[in-house]
C-alpha cells in the first residue's frame, strides 16, 4: 500500500475527505428543452421567452429532439448505460424565476444510467470516477436582486433551457481530484459538442457534496455500499470554477473537522460558497429542505428511444480524449504527459496533428505545448486564433530537422513569426540565420581558436568536458549559427579526442 497523502491531520487524529459531484451542464442547443424559444447569451432581458417558458395558462411542453440527442451523445461519451425508456417528473416549488411553479426533471427514470470517467491527476495517477446517472431537466430563470433597492427583477431568458445533471458516485477523495474530475468531464463534453463548457457564464457548474470520515471508513463503504460508514454530507451549491471548487471543499472540510473534533455533529444541509470570503455558509437545513412533491409530469409521455437511433449517434461520436491520448502516444511516440496536455484541448490536439504530418512529432509537440502555448496564454488567445498556423510550425520544425537552423536559432525565428514576420524560411533567409555547416568555414574558426588558446586545447585532453568552452567560442564567432553537431565533430577531430 502506498502512503496515504490525502490524510488531513486534525487535533484528534487524521481524517479523510469523501466527495461526490452533481455537475449541471447546459446542453448545446439552439432551442430550449420544451419550447421553441432560442437559447443564447447576451440577449436583452426576457427577449428569449416563449409562452411555454412564461407558463401562460394552457401552455404545454414538447420535448426538443436535439436536446435528447445531446444527452444520449453525452451518455455514450461517458461509457454509460442509455435507457431506452425514461420519464419526466415535476419538481414542485415556488420561486419567481420558476414560472410553472415546478421544474421538469427526470427523477425516477433518467435517460442515462451508470458510466465512468477516467481522471488523470497531476502526479500521473489515474482514478476512475463512477457516474451514477445523467438526466435532463429545465433550468430556471434568473432573479436580479441588484437592479432596484426594493424589488427583484426576473429575467426568464434562461427559463426552460436544457441542462444535463451528471451525478457522480462519492469517488473523489481530495479537492484537486474533484477539480480534475470536473476538468476532465468538461473536456469530454466539449469534445462531444454537447456543452460549450463555459464556466464563467455558468454553462457548467457543480454542486459539491462534502463529508469527512476517519481512515478506513471509506473502504468499508466501498465494500458494502452502506453510506452509514461515511460522515454526514453537506452540499455546496452552484460552484463555477475549478479554483472555487477546491477552495470550497478545503474550507468545508476544515469546518466539518472542527465541528466533529469539538464533539459536535454535522447537520445535513445545503450551503453556498462565498468566493469573496472563501467560505461556505448555510443556505437551508434538512428540516427546511423543500418537499418537492415529485410526480410524473402528466403533460409528457415516457421518452422512448429507438435503438437504431442511439446506434447512429454512437457511430457519429468523435474520438474522445482517452483514446486520442493513447493514439497520440502510439502513433507519434509522445510521452503520456505531452499527449495528455495535447488532448486536454481538442483544437490543440488537432493543431498538433496537422503540424506533425511528416515531421518529428516530439519536436512538434514541444513547440505546441511549450512556446506556442505560453504565447497564446499570455495573449489570452485560443489555439484556433493562433497567429502562427500549424503549417508554419511544421515548416519551422522542418528547418530544424534539415539542419538549416539550430533549435536555439529556431526560438528567435519563432518570435519573429509570432510578431508577424512571415514564413519561417523567409525569416531565416532575410535575417541570414542559416546554420553554418560549411566545414571549411568552421575549420578555419576552430584552427584559429586552438592556435590562440593552446593551454585550453591541452587541458581538454585531460578533461574532455571542457570542450564546451570551444563550442561556445565557435558559436560566438558564428553568431549562434554554427551547426552544433558539425562543430563537435570537428573539434573532437582537431583536438585529438
Amino acid at each position: 500500500m502506498t502512503e496515504n497523502t490525502k490524510l488531513i491531520q486534525g487535533r484528534t487524529g487524521p481524517w479523510e475527505l469523501v466527495l461526490g459531484l452533481e455537475v449541471h451542464a447546459q446542453v448545446a442547443s439552439n432551442a430550449k428543452l420544451f419550447s421553441g424559444a432560442a437559447v443564447g447569451f447576451g440577449a436583452g432581458p426576457n427577449a428569449q421567452v416563449s409562452l411555454v417558458d412564461a407558463a401562460m395558462p394552457g401552455m404545454l411542453p414538447v420535448i426538443n429532439r436535439r436536446c435528447v440527442e445531446q444527452a444520449v451523445r453525452t451518455g455514450l461519451g461517458l461509457k454509460a448505460q442509455i435507457n431506452l425508456k425514461s420519464t419526466f417528473d415535476r419538481k414542485n416549488y415556488f420561486y419567481p424565476d420558476l414560472p410553472q411553479g415546478y421544474q421538469i426533471s427526470q427523477f425516477k427514470e433518467p435517460i442515462v444510467g451508470e458510466g465512468e470517467v477516467l481522471v488523470e491527476l497531476d502526479d500521473g495517477e489515474t482514478i476512475t470516477v463512477r457516474i451514477e446517472r445523467l438526466h435532463l431537466e429545465q433550468d430556471a430563470g434568473k432573479s436580479l436582486h441588484d437592479q432596484d433597492p426594493d424589488s427583484t427583477y426576473v429575467d426568464l431568458n434562461r427559463s426552460g433551457t436544457a441542462l444535463m445533471e451528471i451525478v457522480s458516485r462519492p469517488d473523489m477523495r481530495s479537492a484537486p481530484e474533484a477539480a480534475a474530475y470536473v476538468k476532465k468531464l468538461r473536456t469530454i463534453l466539449v469534445y462531444l459538442g454537447t456543452c460549450d463548457g463555459d464556466m464563467e457564464k455558468g454553462n457548467l457548474r457543480a454542486d459539491v457534496n462534502v463529508s469527512v470520515c476517519r481512515p478506513g471508513a471509506y473502504e468499508k463503504f466501498r465494500a458494502t455500499g452502506d453510506f452509514s460508514h461515511l460522515g454526514t454530507r453537506c452540499e455546496i451549491k452552484n460552484v463555477n470554477s475549478y479554483r472555487f471548487i477546491q477552495q470550497a471543499i478545503e474550507y468545508e472540510a476544515r469546518r466539518q473537522i472542527e465541528i466533529l473534533e469539538d464533539g459536535g455533529k454535522i447537520d445535513q444541509e445545503t450551503r453556498l460558497f462565498d468566493p469573496g470570503k472563501g467560505e461556505t455558509r448555510s443556505m437551508r437545513s434538512k428540516e427546511e429542505a423543500h418537499d418537492y412533491r415529485y410526480f410524473p409530469d402528466p403533460d409528457l409521455l415516457p421518452l422512448v428511444l429507438d435503438e437504431a437511433w442511439v446506434k447512429a449517434i454512437e457511430d457519429s461520436l468523435p474520438e474522445l480524449p482517452d483514446p486520442k491520448k493513447a493514439r497520440l502516444q502510439s502513433q507519434y511516440g509522445l510521452s503520456a504527459y505531452d499527449a495528455g496536455v495535447l488532448v486536454g484541448d481538442q483544437a490543440r490536439a488537432d493543431f498538433f496533428e496537422a503540424a506533425a504530418k511528416g515531421r518529428d512529432a516530439k519536436l512538434v509537440a514541444n513547440w505546441v505545448t511549450n512556446d506556442l502555448a505560453a504565447r497564446l496564454t499570455a495573449a489570452s488567445l485560443d489555439i484556433e486564433d493562433s497567429p502562427i498556423s500549424a503549417g508554419e510550425i511544421a515548416d519551422l520544425v522542418k528547418l530544424i530537422e534539415d539542419g538549416v537552423i539550430s533549435s536555439k536559432i529556431a526560438k528567435d525565428v519563432f518570435e519573429r513569426m509570432w510578431a508577424g514576420g512571415g514564413a519561417p524560411a523567409e525569416i531565416v533567409e532575410k535575417q541570414g540565420l542559416m546554420q553554418v555547416s560549411d566545414t571549411g568555414e568552421l575549420e578555419a574558426i576552430i584552427d584559429g581558436l586552438i592556435a590562440g588558446n593552446p593551454a585550453q586545447a591541452e587541458s581538454v585532453k585531460e578533461k574532455p568536458q571542457a570542450i564546451g568552452w570551444f563550442v561556445g567560442q565557435v558559436m560566438k564567432a558564428t553568431g549562434g549559427k554554427a551547426n552544433p553537431g558539425t562543430v563537435n565533430q570537428l573539434l573532437k577531430a582537431k583536438l585529438g579526442l
Partner: protein, 490 residues
C-alpha cells in the same frame, strides 16, 4: 326570426347553405337571446361585436363558395379555453382580466371551419365542481325547473354554462371540457347531448389545465348529430400537445343513423348503486329495451374496481391540479395582492384569488404528493387507475360499448350540496371511470323524471371508437323522442 335559435346546428347549416337566412341574421338572433337571458348567468363574457364581424366574414366566404363545415354557426365557448384577445379566466378571480395573446387549438379549429363566437361561458372555477357554484361569476341557473316550482336548479358542472346555454337556445352548440364528468353530467341535467372523446382526440393546447392526464375537450349540443359535427371540427392531432393522438379524425356525423344491429352492449352490474332513484333505474332498463329493439345484444359485464374509481379520481385530479395551478402566483399575469415579502405576496394572492373548492383541491393534492404520503395515496391511486383501465379492456373483449346512467340524480337545487363536498363529488360516480381509463363517453337525454326534469344515459366506448357511441346515441335519441325543451321563464 327568433325561431332561428330553435334550430339544430345541422338544420341551421342547411338554412345557411340554402340562403334561407344569413350568418349575420342567425348570429343577431342569438345575440338577442343571450342578452335577454342574463338571469341564467350562462355567459360570463358576451362578444357581440366579434360575433357579428365573424358572421359577416362567414357570409362573405359563403358568397365566394368557400364556406367551411361550420360556417356561420354561432357557438358559446367555455371560459376554460384561451381565446386570443378575449378575456379568459377559467371563472377564477386569480386570472383577473387575463387576455391571452393566443387561441386554443380546439377553438382555432372551430374558427378554421367558419364558426362564430358569441362569448365565453360560465363554469366552475378551474373546472372544479359539479354544480357550477364554484364560479367566481356566481352559479349558472338551469333553464329547467321542476314542474310547478320556481326553485333555482343547478345545470351541473363544471360545464354548466355550456349546458345551460345550449338547452336555453343561447347558442347552437358549445365547447366544454370533461375531467371527471364535466361534459356528461351537465348534459344529463339539462337534456342536452355531451361527449367526452378519447383522451388525446382534442388538443389540450390553450385550454387552462385542471388535471392534465384527465382533461379532455368535447362539445355539448342539442342533438347527437350536432355533437358529431362539432367534435369532427374540434378534434385533430396537434404537435403542440405531447399527449395528442396522431390519428385521423373520422366524419363522426356519418355514424349517426347507422344500424347498430348485432352490436353487443354491456351493462356493468357495479353501476347499480345503492340509493339510486328508481326513475333512473327504470330509465336504464328502458335504454336497454330500446337498444334490444334496435338489434343490439345486451350482455351483463363486471367492472370490479368501479367502487375505487371515485376515491382514486379525487387523489389523482387534485394532485395534478395542485401542481398545474402553481403558476398562478401573481408574478406574471392575473391577480396580485402585494405582501410585505415574497411569501406573503404568494399567500395573499392565492388566498384572494382562489375560491374555497379550488383551495380544498390544492390542499388535497399537495397532501397526497407530499413525502411520506405519496406511496399511500398517489401511487396507490395510479395502481387503481390501471386496474380500472384493465376492467374496461376485459369488458371490451365481450362487448362493443357500455350503457349506464350518466348521473345519480336529476338537477338538484342550487346550494343543496354546498356544505358537503363528498355528496357533491358523488355526482361524478358514473363518469370518472371513463376519464381514468381515457375512454370516450357520451350522455344522451333519454327522458324526464316525475318532476319533468331531464335524465341522461351514458354510453362508454373503446378508445377511439366514438363512432359506435354516435350510432348508439342516435338510436337512443330517436327511440326516446326527447324533444322536451325548458319552458322559457327567464
Amino acid at each position: 326570426m327568433s325561431d332561428l335559435t330553435k334550430l339544430t346546428l345541422k338544420s341551421a347549416l342547411e338554412g345557411l347553405e340554402t340562403k334561407a337566412f344569413s350568418a349575420v341574421e342567425l348570429t343577431q338572433v342569438h345575440i338577442e337571446a343571450v342578452e335577454s337571458a342574463k338571469a341564467l348567468n350562462a355567459y360570463v363574457l358576451e362578444t357581440p361585436d366579434k360575433a357579428l364581424a365573424m358572421a359577416q366574414a362567414s357570409d362573405a366566404r359563403r358568397a365566394r363558395g368557400q364556406a367551411g363545415a361550420l360556417d356561420g354557426a354561432p357557438l358559446g365557448i367555455k371560459d376554460l379555453f384561451c381565446t386570443e384577445g378575449v378575456r379568459s379566466t377559467a371563472c377564477s378571480k386569480i386570472l383577473g382580466n387575463f387576455q391571452p395573446t393566443y387561441e386554443s387549438s380546439v377553438t382555432a379549429n372551430l374558427w378554421r371551419d367558419g364558426a362564430v363566437m358569441l362569448g365565453k361561458l360560465n363554469m366552475d372555477e378551474f373546472a372544479m365542481g359539479s354544480s357550477n357554484e364554484t364560479s367566481a361569476f356566481g352559479p349558472v341557473i338551469n333553464p329547467w325547473r321542476a314542474s310547478g316550482e320556481t326553485t333555482a336548479l343547478t345545470p351541473g358542472g363544471s360545464s354548466g354554462g355550456s349546458a345551460a346555454a345550449v338547452a336555453a337556445q343561447l347558442c347552437l352548440g358549445a365547447t366544454a371540457t370533461d375531467t371527471g364528468g364535466s361534459i356528461r353530467q351537465p348534459a344529463a341535467l339539462t337534456g342536452t347531448v355531451g361527449i367526452k372523446p378519447t383522451y388525446g382526440r382534442c388538443s389540450r393546447w390553450g385550454v387552462v389545465a385542471f388535471a392534465s392526464s384527465l382533461d379532455q375537450a368535447g362539445p355539448i349540443a342539442r342533438t347527437v348529430e350536432d355533437a358529431a359535427l362539432l367534435l369532427t371540427s374540434m378534434a385533430g392531432h396537434d404537435a403542440r400537445d405531447s399527449t395528442s393522438l396522431d390519428v385521423a379524425v373520422p366524419d363522426f356525423a356519418s355514424f349517426v343513423g347507422k344500424s347498430v344491429k348485432g352490436m353487443r352492449v354491456g351493462i356493468p352490474k357495479e353501476y347499480r348503486v345503492e340509493g339510486m332513484p328508481a326513475e333512473i333505474e327504470q330509465l336504464w332498463e328502458q335504454g336497454v329495451a330500446w337498444l334490444k329493439e334496435a338489434g343490439c345484444e345486451i350482455v351483463e359485464v363486471s367492472l370490479p374496481h368501479t367502487k375505487y374509481a371515485l376515491p382514486a379520481y379525487y387523489i389523482v385530479a387534485p394532485a395534478e391540479a395542485s401542481s398545474n395551478l402553481a403558476r398562478y402566483d401573481g408574478m406574471r399575469y392575473g391577480l396580485r395582492v402585494d405582501g410585505a415579502n415574497l411569501t406573503e405576496t404568494y399567500e395573499q394572492t392565492r388566498a384572494a384569488g382562489f375560491g374555497e373548492e379550488v383551495k380544498r383541491r390544492i390542499l388535497i393534492g399537495t397532501y397526497v404528493l407530499s413525502a411520506g404520503y405519496y406511496d399511500a395515496y398517489y401511487l396507490k391511486a395510479q395502481k387503481v387507475r390501471r386496474r380500472i383501465a384493465d376492467d374496461f379492456d376485459q369488458a371490451f373483449e365481450k362487448v362493443d360499448a357500455l350503457l349506464t346512467p350518466t348521473a345519480p340524480s336529476a338537477a338538484f337545487p342550487l346550494g343543496e350540496n354546498a356544505d358537503d363536498p363528498v355528496a357533491m363529488y358523488l355526482n361524478d360516480i358514473f363518469t370518472v371511470t371513463v376519464n381514468l381509463a381515457g375512454l370516450p363517453g357520451m350522455s344522451v337525454p333519454a327522458g324526464v323524471d316525475a318532476k319533468g326534469l331531464p335524465l341522461g344515459l351514458q354510453l362508454i366506448g373503446r378508445a377511439l371508437d366514438e363512432g359506435s357511441l354516435f350510432s348508439l346515441g342516435g338510436v337512443i335519441e330517436q327511440a326516446a323522442g326527447f324533444t322536451a325543451r325548458p319552458d322559457r321563464w327567464w
